[in-house]
């Protein structure tokens, strides 16, 4: 039998890429390195989504919530209408100290970019709402914007941090927003590829964020329906048409509102399987059994590797049986998380330690001194 030469596909690989870099000393750096790192995993993506979360980028406005807004819609007219409607709400509910279009390169280089604007603001609470904490108030207003104002989406809302995302390869998104020139952050997280099981649109790219918590995710949350239903009871509206959104809201509910430590949160999102629980000592078994009973609907089923960004903190977590890759590494003050080790080596050839985190066990990098970013 003669061997028939078959066509070699030039593009057969596909899976998400995630990357995170944090300087635990609080020193800030631009996105040039993380853009090279994520571009090195180009084959994992498909050009339908990419995005960045950056912490420490707005030191001059660090007391204000930085809202990044996306105004979509087919025509510029639609976008400006959405913007006018949004600004009317902002004027009534917030004190806006500064706003501008987020600087970007030529729009013709991207596919259908929306109008993207940022607002630095403080809550302006009136009447009954004065009883709410600032954060509760902000979250309720974000949900209001995302569900009630057509074509307007708040996709970033923390203090001294911001998300930048869209349709394209992540390195293209980084170029478009000039992240390698305009911003300095102590933590960058990045994502390549597109939202699972949904059409690609600018709001559906990763990261997903609420207040200062952002998520980039490789995998698929098959428990999305259950998780979403549970989170809706707590006032979270899932509007971005994709699964990863529920992780961002679950992290907000558990870590900000219920103040649970990350070790416990990991045991809720990715609990050990029952026969592992059966082998634990009595107090551990009781804790894990209780968590599974109380927070059953927040169990994230399906394969995932995520990087959670927060003020002063970067956390890596995979599902309990590690069905998606994540490599962790340290070099001096630098802490790295990546889908592939090569991307870390590209920007830091020498590393003090490289390891494969265990499934369901969080790996955490924290600022040595929180005051370096909070002052």
């Amino acid at each position: 039998m003669p061997r028939i030469r078959r066509e070699l596909y030039s593009k057969e690989i596909c899976s998400c890429s995630i990357f995170g870099a944090m300087n635990q000393g609080g020193e800030r750096f631009n996105a040039a390195g993380v853009m090279r790192a994520i571009a090195n995993m180009h084959v994992r993506g498909n050009g339908l989504g990419g995005g960045f979360a950056a912490y420490g980028i707005y030191p001059h406005y660090s007391d204000y919530y930085a809202f990044h807004l996306m105004f979509t819609g087919k025509s510029m007219q639609d976008r400006l209408e959405a913007k006018a409607e949004l600004e009317e709400l902002l004027c009534h509910k917030f004190d806006v100290v500064y706003d501008e279009e987020i600087p970007h390169e030529d729009e013709s280089t991207m596919i259908d970019p929306p109008l993207i604007w940022r607002y630095f603001l403080l809550p302006h609470k009136r009447g009954e709402e004065e009883a709410l904490s600032d954060e509760e108030y902000i979250v309720s207003k974000i949900m209001q914007v995302n569900t009630k104002i057509e074509n307007a989406y708040v996709f970033s809302s923390g203090k001294n941090m911001g998300c930048f995302k869209g349709v394209g390869y992540p390195e293209e998104i980084g170029q478009y927003f000039m992240l390698d020139r305009l911003y300095q952050a102590y933590t960058w997280t990045v994502h390549g590829r597109f939202p699972t099981n949904t059409q690609a649109w600018w709001g559906g790219a990763h990261p997903f964020s609420l207040l200062d918590t952002s998520i980039v995710h490789n995998g698929e949350i098959s428990s999305y329906g259950t998780n979403r239903w549970y989170l809706e009871m707590y006032g979270y509206a899932c509007t971005l048409q994709t699964d990863t959104e529920v992780i961002a809201y679950a992290a907000d509910l558990l870590m900000r509102r219920q103040r649970l430590p990350i070790d416990i949160v990991a045991k809720i999102l990715a609990p050990p399987i029952w026969n592992a629980i059966d082998r634990m000592n009595q107090s551990e078994r009781k804790l894990l059994t209780t968590l599974r009973m109380v927070y059953g609907p927040l169990l994230m089923n399906g394969p995932f590797a995520i990087i959670i960004g927060q003020t002063g903190r970067m956390i890596g977590l995979t599902d309990r049986i590690r069905l998606r890759p994540l490599t962790a590494a340290r070099r001096g003050d630098m802490f790295y998380l990546s889908s592939e080790e090569a991307s870390i080596r590209l920007i830091s050839p020498e590393l003090d330690r490289v390891w494969t985190p265990n499934g369901g066990e969080p790996v955490v990098g924290e600022l040595n001194n929180m005051r370096t970013v909070l002052q």
Binding site: N40, R345, L346, N358
Partner: protein, 270 residues
């Protein structure tokens, strides 16, 4: 395009080969396909050794190197090769100076891989022949569905230890975990669904770490012979571990084998 240079012009003018026998490639900024095309080109032109520098995430190195005339090549890699290194490897020898990523030796057929570092997840996945030596540890699902047939018996020797699901659905071959740093074997679900082959562990393991299909016993003299052979080969390739054969071999080893060749027979048949 690859930059190739002759680094070994050895031999007198009389017997100088038509093409260099040893070639060096700079892989910086080359994508997976270009690098593998280049390797295939070099193999077909009769090159016997390739040194690749600045490897950074390029996948499938060593994969597309089957030839009907069974040409063989040594590939030396400096940097971090990408996923599925040595996948379907057809008798070549690959040495990595650094760490390897996921899927090393995926469905490897024959040959040898030596990693002077650690390896990621699914090392030796569906491997069906050849030998892999890893100096340090490895990630999840090592030797997943490794298999053997007649004279083809894959061998995997790890200087460190492995994480969960070691030997999952393993159907054949030999896995040796040396735990040279004596950190202890922490993996759970070892040998879940295992129905062939053997895993040797240096040190101890708790019964609760093993899949229910796995039987655990001390090694006998015939096992010692196998271990002696592969530990010797491990040390020949990775002398930097700085231990003698006696130091390693004269310690307690456990042997893990499947209790049944068909662990799920009662599940799928009536």
């Amino acid at each position: 395009m690859a930059r190739a240079e002759e680094v070994n012009g050895s031999g007198s003018l009389d017997d100088a080969p038509a093409s260099p026998r040893e070639v060096e490639i700079d892989a910086a900024d080359q994508d997976t396909r270009a690098l593998n095309d280049r390797l295939r080109e070099l193999l077909l032109s009769g090159v016997e050794k390739v040194v690749i520098r600045n490897v950074c995430g390029q996948r499938y190195i060593g994969t597309r190197l089957y030839t009907p005339q069974h040409l063989k090549m040594d590939i030396e890699i400096f940097g971090t090769p990408g996923n599925d290194l040595a996948a379907f490897l057809f008798g070549h020898k690959i040495t990595v100076h650094g760490n390897a990523q996921d899927g090393v030796g995926n469905t490897m057929d024959a040959g040898e891989v030596v990693v002077h570092g650690r390896s990621g997840d699914v090392l030796g996945f569906s491997m069906r022949g050849g030998e892999i030596y890893v100096r340090d540890g490895c990630g999840y699902r090592t030797a997943l569905h490794m298999k053997e047939y007649e004279d083809k018996r894959p061998v995997l020797v790890i200087g460190g230890t492995a994480q969960d699901f070691l030997g999952e659905y393993m159907a054949g071959g030999i896995v040796v975990l040396l735990d040279l740093e004596e950190r202890g074997h922490q993996a759970n679900f070892i040998g879940t669904g295992m129905h062939g082959g053997v895993i040797y562990l240096r040190g101890a393991v708790d019964g609760s770490q093993l899949g229910s299909q796995v039987g655990c016993s001390p090694v006998d003299p015939s096992d010692r012979k196998v271990l002696d052979h592969y530990i010797t080969r491990f040390l020949e390739r990775l002398p930097e571990v700085g231990l003698s054969r006696e130091e390693i071999i004269n310690s307690p080893f456990l042997r893990l084998t499947p209790k049944s060749k068909r662990p799920y027979s009662t599940l799928y048949t009536y």
